[in-house]
Amino acid sequence: MILCWLLFVPFIGGLLCWQLESRHAPAQAPRWIALLTMLLVVGLALWLWLTGDYSLAGGAVGDAPNWAHQIRLPWIDRFGISFHLALDGLSLIMIMLTGFLGVLAVVCSWREITNRIGFFHLNLLWIIGGVVGVFLAVDLFLFFFFWEMMLVPMYFLIALWGHSGSKGNTRIGAAIKFFIYTQASGLLMLVSILGLVFAHYSQTGTFTFDYMVLRETPLTGTIAYVLMLGFFIAFAVKLPVVPLHGWLPDAHAQAPTAGSVDLAGILLKTAAYGMLRFAIPLFPEASAQFAPVAMALGLIGIYYGALLAFSQTDVKRLIACSSISHMGFVLIGIYSGTLLALQGVIVQMVAHAFSAAGLFIISGQIYERIHTRDMRQMGGLFGRMGALPGFALVFVMASLGMPGTGNFIGEFLILFGAFDTVPWVVVAASGGLVLAAIYSLVLMHRVYWGTPKSEASLGGLDPREYSMMLLLLVLTLWLGLFPNTVLDISHTAMTEVTDWFAVAPLPSR
């Protein structure tokens, strides 16, 4: 039952925000409602964490996973679709992250969003609700349902409250591009889901969309490979993997700060989650076959993203492109299939969410002060903005993987874990770290050092901004110094994924 609350609280809160706007409530009311809603989600997630035991020993392959909580209600009997939510360590980490970034998204748009506040928060909360649904659903239909549903509010967020970009890039164009990329690839996933369901139907004569049942379906090599590709493409667009990344820089650059935070912090992670939860366990053999290609794509992503980041002049585009590079590591980690690398993937995802959110919020705050995101117009901001450049320095360091930050742990575990199986990929990927250092320092240099454009002070951080930054900073460092907090929760779930990989006959490497 608590899972239902976790899922429905954001939706209800969103509707409440919308209704409060049209009635004659105080103008700030929607913000407070949204903040309370998100705090409630975080509270529920924390409560689940504190009361649940997520370190149960994993059973043998094929056993039911150790869901800490689950709820199952009949939904569409005709196709054996049920409203099946379940929670294990992996989902719990993701949901805590979602809730936390949701709070940040509400807080960081406190002053940025001034028109249509209620409708804005409706969209914001519905994104969160959709994402929570994605992380909880273990019925493939339900998963797809939330997967597609969360796109609509995100579309509105970018299209209505976004910034018009440079060079004729309109926010509506960016929003439509984002939507078409993700929706079209989502339909491929739907086709794959249906292919899998009908394959199961032809063998057993019953319709089911249940993840637990479907992953037992024996499939011949080619079919499994094709179906797996359908899933992979959908997730690859969202992650993003390089040939399919076209939507990302535009969407990030044009989105309002809260939208960027959600996009980079959570929406990208749904893709990695989808791979871990669905693409690999449903098609272990095909995934193992595909692993070299996936890792090659990951490598390309690391380098291409870094190069792309280097050539940007727009701060938010730079951070967005660096996400492509970071997600390359995640992709390599996922498909290397060792426990250590998978654990690294989890840490990397959480850490990247913190550092990217931090950087996006900072660029939002800079934008509020000097009304540009063009780095050529910045320079010399250090000392003119109170503590802001200091925080920026920390997040930039985190983003380049400085020891002591969570990002270091993530990248280190991924590379270390994958070294056993794919040493050359790891060697090549390590080169990407150098590029990360270069573009991160370039960002730092262009924005904060150099000759200042003027000497006037731009105003420091107010308590709201300061506490957001401080919280993110503490969490980034905590993750870097005590990564076990996260690793313990995800251990069992990741062991299961490793087991799925292990049963697959690995191709000779």
Binding site: I76, E148, M149, V152, I176, F179, I180, L190, V191, L194
Partner: protein
């Protein structure tokens, strides 16, 4: 053969509609009053709808060699009646200020709905032709009803000429089939078709019928009339055209190919696949550049019927369920979309508010109306949480099940293209720069019957998008009686 009274009971919905036509006509002769005519129409349609429940007890039953009343015809009959009812409520608000005779509109609408019922229940070429003409001929008048508007008149004439040509094709095709098989019943064709399926006359006959029906369904390449007629026709008529006439003709097409399966073999099946594919792609591509909502919806309907043709190509028992679900969701969505357009254009004051700039910022002026329109756009685009997703789910499912991978590709590609214009339309509702010339729904639109109807449709679209089981149970229980 069952006795006469049972047969009459089976035809009750049709008879009630015909009686209502006579009633409305007489009432106009006695005293011309808009509200009375509309009320009589609504009562008649509701009575017909209720009588379906009674008929349900005696299905399936064959009534003369012409009609077969089974669950299938009742389901689609119900869809047609509900859609006609919706169009009537829209028309009442719309026609209120028309500077001409308003009452005859309802006679035309009722006749057309009766034709649709006949067409759905037909199992014989004679009833097919009568039904189709009874459906189409009143539509000429309805499309051109606001004839003081040039484009309405033009649309009416265009539709009449092209529809006449299509009817000629249909008759020619039937004649060829009759010459070859000696039977006018669909089921009677089976043996002849199975025996010499390669005969050019038979193929030409079926082919010509498909051409005529494809014209009515506005499938590519017989779609050219659609945007002009949708744009020119008064709002309620566009809604009627997009729902009732499409549902009836499609139901007939499915019945024809189910009762005479050999008719759809060999290259003809491939041809229909190509038509489906072309409709999905061309419809969506042409919609991209439209600046008029009604034209956009016209092109979108081409694409949707293209998706649905997949079910005909796939065939099998699952196709009935697919078509039922898809048409039910499509009708609700299309009625909602045209309903909003009509409400914005109501009461009649010249050409309908079709241009996109009329809708700019509608959300901030009429939040609920714009929400309804948003829901309809999302449903047309097939986004989860709306009924349109259910339809799309079914169509993709049947295509995957039958291994029609190229059509699957077409659906995915078409949907991706379609998103562009649905989203653009949707976001216009939320932009808040003022347009030059605004038209708006009247301020009390939510209390009008049309407004309530549109709100109910939106609620239904969302309800069945989230909890579709009742709809699926209803439709999947629907069987088509054999020959």
């Amino acid at each position: 053969m069952t006795d006469f009274s049972t047969q009459m009971l089976a035809l009750a919905p049709l008879l009630i509609l015909c009686a209502t036509v006579v009633g409305v006509m007489l009432s106009i002769a006695v005293h011309r009053h808009h509200f009375t005519a509309a009320t009589m129409t609504v009562v008649g349609l509701n009575a017909a709808l209720l009588s379906l429940l009674g008929v349900l007890q005696i299905t399936p039953i064959q009534v003369t060699p012409l009609f077969i009343i089974d669950d299938y015809s009742l389901l689609f009959g119900a869809i047609v009646l509900v859609a006609s009812l919706a169009c009537t409520t829209l028309a009442h608000a719309y026609l209120d200020t028309l500077p001409d005779r308003r009452e005859e509109f309802y006679i035309l609408l009722l006749c057309s709905a009766g034709g649709a019922l006949a067409l759905i229940a037909s199992r014989h070429f004679a009833s097919l032709f009568i039904g189709l003409e009874l459906l189409s001929v009143p539509l000429y008048g309805m499309v051109a009803y606001a004839y003081r508007d040039r484009i309405s008149l033009e649309a009416g004439l265009k539709y009449m000429v092209l529809s006449g040509a299509a009817s000629a094709f249909l008759l020619f095709g039937m004649a060829l089939l009759y010459a070859a098989s000696g039977s006018l019943e669909y089921a009677g064709l089976v043996d002849t078709l199975a025996g010499n399926s390669g005969s050019p006359w038979l193929l030409a006959g079926v082919g010509m019928m498909v051409v005529a029906l494809a014209f009515k369904l506005s499938l590519v390449p017989f779609h050219v009339w659609t945007p002009d007629v949708y744009e020119g026709a008064p709002g309620p008529v566009s809604a009627f055209l997009a729902t009732v006439s499409k549902v009836a003709v499609f139901a007939l097409l499915l019945r024809f190919f189910t009762l005479a399966p050999p008719a759809a073999n060999g290259w003809l099946l491939t041809l229909m696949g190509v038509i489906a594919m072309a409709s999905m792609l061309v419809g969506n591509l042409l919609a991209l550049r439209q600046r008029n909502v009604k034209r956009l919806l016209g092109y979108s309907s081409i694409a949707h019927l293209g998706y649905l043709m997949t079910a005909i190509v796939a065939g099998g028992t699952f196709s009935i369920e697919t078509v039922g679900i898809y048409l039910a969701t499509y009708v609700a969505t299309t009625l909602g979309a045209f309903g909003v357009v009509t409400l914005v254009s109501s009461p009649y004051s010249g050409t309908d508010a079709g241009a996109l700039h009329h809708y700019r910022g509608l959300f901030w002026r009429r939040p609920y109306l714009a929400t309804v329109f948003t829901v309809m756009m999302l449903s047309l685009a097939g986004i989860p949480m709306t009924a349109g997703f259910l339809g799309k789910f079914y169509v993709i499912a049947i295509a995957v099940q039958s291994g029609l991978w190229w059509l699957v590709g077409g659906i995915v590609l078409g949907s991706a293209i379609g998103l562009y214009y649905y989203l653009r339309m949707m976001v216009i509702l939320f932009l808040d720069e003022p347009g030059e010339s605004r038209r708006d729904a009247v301020s009390g639109w939510g209390q009008q019957s049309g407004g309530i109807m549109v709100l109910l449709l939106a609620a239904a679209v969302i309800f069945f998008g989230i909890y579709p089981q009742p709809l699926i149970s209803l439709v999947s229980a629907t069987g088509m009686a054999g020959g």
